[in-house]
């Protein structure tokens, strides 16, 4: 996956069975069934809640994460609290 591509839920079309549970569960209506397979039809509506990933019986949906070091604000806050 390109590092510059937007980070969105990944749907494996080969694993998806088209059961539609994710579509029904998605609180934002971001998912739809297209050609019998789950599709992130409205990515802007995705709240990244992971309900779809939790529900999918085929393990066809995965939400990627990136780990970031603490922000400078967080580091400064911790440094101040240690000095006081």
């Amino acid at each position: 996956m390109s590092d510059h591509a937007p980070i969105l839920p990944q749907i494996d079309g080969e694993r998806c069975t088209g059961c539609g549970q994710c579509v029904a569960a998605c609180p934002g209506g971001a998912l739809a069934l297209t050609a019998g397979r789950a599709d992130l039809a409205q990515p802007e509506a995705c709240a990244y809640c992971a309900d779809c990933e939790d529900l999918c019986p085929a393990g066809a949906i995965g939400l990627p994460y990136v780990v970031e070091a603490e922000t400078r604000k967080t580091s400064e806050t911790q440094s101040k609290s240690r000095r006081s």
């Binding site: 996956m1 590092d3 980070i7 990944q10 494996d12 080969e14 990244y48 992971a50 990933e53 939790d54 393990g59 995965g62 939400l63 990627p64 994460y65 990136v66 780990v67 970031e68 070091a69 603490e70 922000t71 967080t74 911790q78």
Partner: protein
Amino acid sequence: MPENLADFLKSLPYFAGLPQQAVTDLAARARRRVYARHELIVLEGEPAQAACFVVSGNVRVFKLSPEGRQQVLDRLGPGEAFNLVPIFDGLPNPASAEAVNAATICLLARQDLLAVLRRYPSVAEALLADFAGRLRRLSALVEDLSFRTVRARLARFILRQASAPGRRLTQAEMAAELGTVRDVIGRTLLDFQAEGLITIDRHRICIQDRPSLEALAGM
């Protein structure tokens, strides 16, 4: 991607010391295969066909439990090798390997690799150094799985990932690397957030309390 297999093999540390003709001869015996995302390259337990070298793309080496849980042993990129063990002991593939994304693999048959290794000691030296590195990594994995709780392993993982930013992993992929299941990773991440160790904002896991995470990781 290198234009021909001879250039590719020459670029590898295993064959960098070989005369050009030897590389050319080896390349003539090698095969190049393209694998689609998630396509299986090597299956654990099957008779070994060849040593594999990643030309492009990424490969995941793993073992599967009888229940289907995956434990990742290694993640490889261009220029790295896998399935070398059967070359030396003649036994079946010790693990499986699949393409993480579309991958091109250079395959060298056992007899061809052994022939060049016997003739050129530099190849054996390079392979031994490679094996030593793998042994160290596997020892660290055994230590991690045997002596650390899932919380400690995940804390260590988060700290390691923060120092090498950019890599994207799903919770299922984290679970496969850390010897657990996705649900446990999900619950533990939420616990870490509730404890103030991290924040989770959509796809971003951001460290908030590094000292506590390091203490939890045993670092």
